[in-house]
C-alpha cells in the first residue's frame, strides 16, 4: 500500500467516523435538542427534523456546543446597519 493510498484510507475513515458520530447525535438532537436551541422548532411535525437531519450530521459540533451551552435561540447575524445602530444580539430584537 502506498503512502497516498494509506492517506486516503485515513482521511476517508476519519470522515466516516465523524459522520457516524454525527448520525447518532442527529437522532438525539432531532428528537430533543433542536427544540432547546431554537424556539421556532417547538411543536413542529416529523417532516422538519427529517429535513434538517443531514445538516446536523455535518454541523453536529456546533449544535452540540449550543445545546450544552443552554442557548434558547441562535445568535442574530451581524449586519452593518444593526452594528451602527447598536443592536448586536437577538434579545434586543424581541
Amino acid at each position: 500500500m502506498t503512502w497516498y493510498e494509506e492517506g486516503i484510507r485515513v482521511v476517508l475513515g476519519s470522515l466516516g467516523l465523524y459522520a457516524a458520530v454525527g448520525a447518532v447525535f442527529a437522532i438525539a438532537f432531532c428528537l430533543q435538542g433542536v427544540q432547546r436551541v431554537d424556539s421556532q422548532a417547538v411543536g413542529t411535525g416529523w417532516g422538519f427534523p427529517l429535513l434538517i437531519a443531514p445538516g446536523v450530521v455535518v454541523f453536529w459540533p456546533l449544535l452540540l456546543r449550543r445545546w450544552m451551552g443552554g442557548a434558547s435561540d441562535p445568535p442574530l447575524a451581524a449586519n452593518p446597519h444593526r452594528g451602527v445602530s447598536g443592536i448586536q444580539d437577538r434579545e434586543m430584537q424581541r
Binding site: 431554537d38 449544535l63 444593526r82 434586543m92
Partner: protein, 360 residues
C-alpha cells in the same frame, strides 16, 4: 415568515414550480436515454442513465446560477428565484444519483472500498486525457450536499445569514470543479467539438450574466448623495419613486430602500433579515414592505414584521423638502418607529439625536 418551522411551506406556486421540475427532469431523462439508445446502439442503458443524470444536474446548475443575475437585471425573472432552493435540492439529487450509479458501475466490483477505489484507482494527475476527473466530481458533490443539507430556514437562522450565504457561495467552486470534471472526463472520451462548444457557451453565459449584474450593482453603489442640512443627505426627487415601490440609494456601500406609499415616504435598510434579500426591489402589499425573494414582510414606518412575526430591520429618518427626499444616514435600531415624511404636506419628522446603543 417565521414563528414555527415547517418542513416545507407549500403554496400553489411552489407546487407548480416543483411539478415543473419533476416533469422537466423526467422528460429530459427519457429523451436522453431514449435518444441515446437510438443514436448509440452500443451504449448500455446504465451508461446512458449515468450520463443523463450527470448532464441533467449540470444543466440545472447552469439554470440555478443564471437565475440570480437574471433576476437582478430584470424583475420578470424574480418568480424563478422564489423557489430556487427546490431547484438546488433537485439538482443535488440528480448529481447524487449520477455519482452513486457511477461508483457502482466503475468502482464497486473489486475488493477495494468503492470510495477508496475512486481516489486510488487512477493517480495520473499529470495527464490531461487520463486525469482522475472523478475526484473533481466527488468534491463538487460534497459542496452540493452541504448546500442541500442546509437549505432549510433552520440553517439560515442557526448558521446566521452571513455564514449561510458564504457557505452557499461555495456553489461557484462546485461549478468550477464540475466544468473541469466534464472537460477532463466526458470531453476526453467524446471528442465531438459541439460538446466542447456547449460547455464553453454555458460557462460564458454564467460569467457574462454575473458580470452584467455586478456592473449594475456597482453603478448603484458608486452614486454619492449630496449633503443637505442637519446631517441629512439628498436622495433625489420624490416624484421618481413609484407608488408602493422603492428607490434604493447607497450610503457608504450600505443600501437604503426609500418606499413611497399613501402620500408618505419611509426609509428602511435594504437588507431583509431572512436571507439578506433586496427589500427595495419588493413592493408594499397589504400595507407592508414585501421582500421579493421569500415574501418576508415589514411595516414601512417601523421596519417590524406584523405580529405574530418578529423580524425587524433598521429604519432611517426622512424629510421631504422642495419635492426632494432627504434621508439621515444613521440607522435607527431595528423596529424603531420613525414618522414617515409626508409628500406635499408641512409635516417634518422630529429630528432627534441618533440613538446610542441600547435596548428599545
Amino acid at each position: 415568515m417565521s414563528v414555527q418551522y415547517a418542513a416545507i411551506g407549500w403554496s400553489p406556486a411552489k407546487r407548480g414550480y416543483d411539478l415543473a421540475i419533476v416533469v422537466g427532469v423526467a422528460v429530459y431523462l427519457v429523451l436522453f436515454v431514449g435518444g441515446g439508445t437510438l443514436l448509440r446502439p452500443n451504449a448500455t442503458t446504465e451508461t446512458l442513465l449515468i450520463r443523463g443524470l450527470g448532464t441533467g444536474a449540470f444543466l440545472l446548475l447552469h439554470v440555478i446560477l443564471c437565475i440570480g443575475p437574471l433576476a437582478r437585471l430584470d424583475a420578470r425573472f424574480l418568480p424563478l428565484l422564489y423557489n430556487r432552493r427546490h431547484l438546488g435540492v433537485s439538482m443535488f439529487l440528480l448529481a447524487l444519483a449520477h455519482s452513486v450509479f457511477s461508483l457502482i458501475q466503475f468502482h464497486a466490483l473489486g475488493d477495494v472500498n468503492p470510495l477508496v477505489s475512486l481516489f486510488v484507482s487512477n493517480e495520473r494527475f499529470g495527464s490531461i486525457s487520463q486525469f482522475p476527473f472523478q475526484m473533481l466530481g466527488f468534491f463538487a458533490l460534497v459542496i452540493l450536499f452541504v448546500m442541500a443539507a442546509t437549505s432549510h430556514d433552520f440553517w439560515l437562522r442557526n448558521l446566521t445569514p452571513m455564514v449561510w450565504k458564504r457557505l452557499h457561495m461555495l456553489v461557484y467552486w462546485a461549478y468550477a470543479l464540475l466544468v473541469a470534471h466534464v472537460a477532463l472526463g466526458a470531453l476526453q472520451s467524446e471528442r465531438n467539438p459541439v460538446l466542447a462548444a456547449l460547455l464553453a457557451a454555458g460557462a460564458a453565459t454564467v460569467v457574462t450574466l454575473h458580470l452584467l449584474a455586478a456592473s449594475k450593482e456597482a453603478r448603484l453603489d458608486g452614486t454619492r448623495l449630496a449633503a443637505s442640512d442637519a446631517g441629512f443627505l439628498d436622495a433625489g426627487e420624490v416624484a421618481t419613486i413609484p407608488e408602493k415601490c422603492a428607490r434604493v440609494v447607497s450610503l457608504g456601500g450600505e443600501r437604503i430602500a426609500l418606499f413611497r406609499y399613501d402620500g408618505k415616504v419611509s426609509a428602511v435598510s435594504n437588507v431583509c433579515q431572512h436571507q439578506n434579500g433586496p427589500l427595495g426591489e419588493g413592493r408594499i402589499l397589504g400595507g407592508c414592505i414585501t421582500c421579493p425573494w421569500h415574501g418576508y414582510q415589514y411595516r414601512p414606518a417601523d421596519g417590524a414584521s406584523p405580529p405574530p412575526f418578529h423580524e425587524k430591520v433598521s429604519t432611517f429618518r426622512t424629510r421631504i423638502v422642495g419635492g426632494r427626499v432627504l434621508v439621515h444616514p444613521t440607522p435607527l435600531p431595528p423596529g424603531t418607529y420613525c414618522e414617515p415624511a409626508k409628500i406635499g404636506g408641512a409635516t417634518v419628522p422630529a429630528v432627534e439625536p441618533p440613538p446610542k446603543a441600547g435596548r428599545e
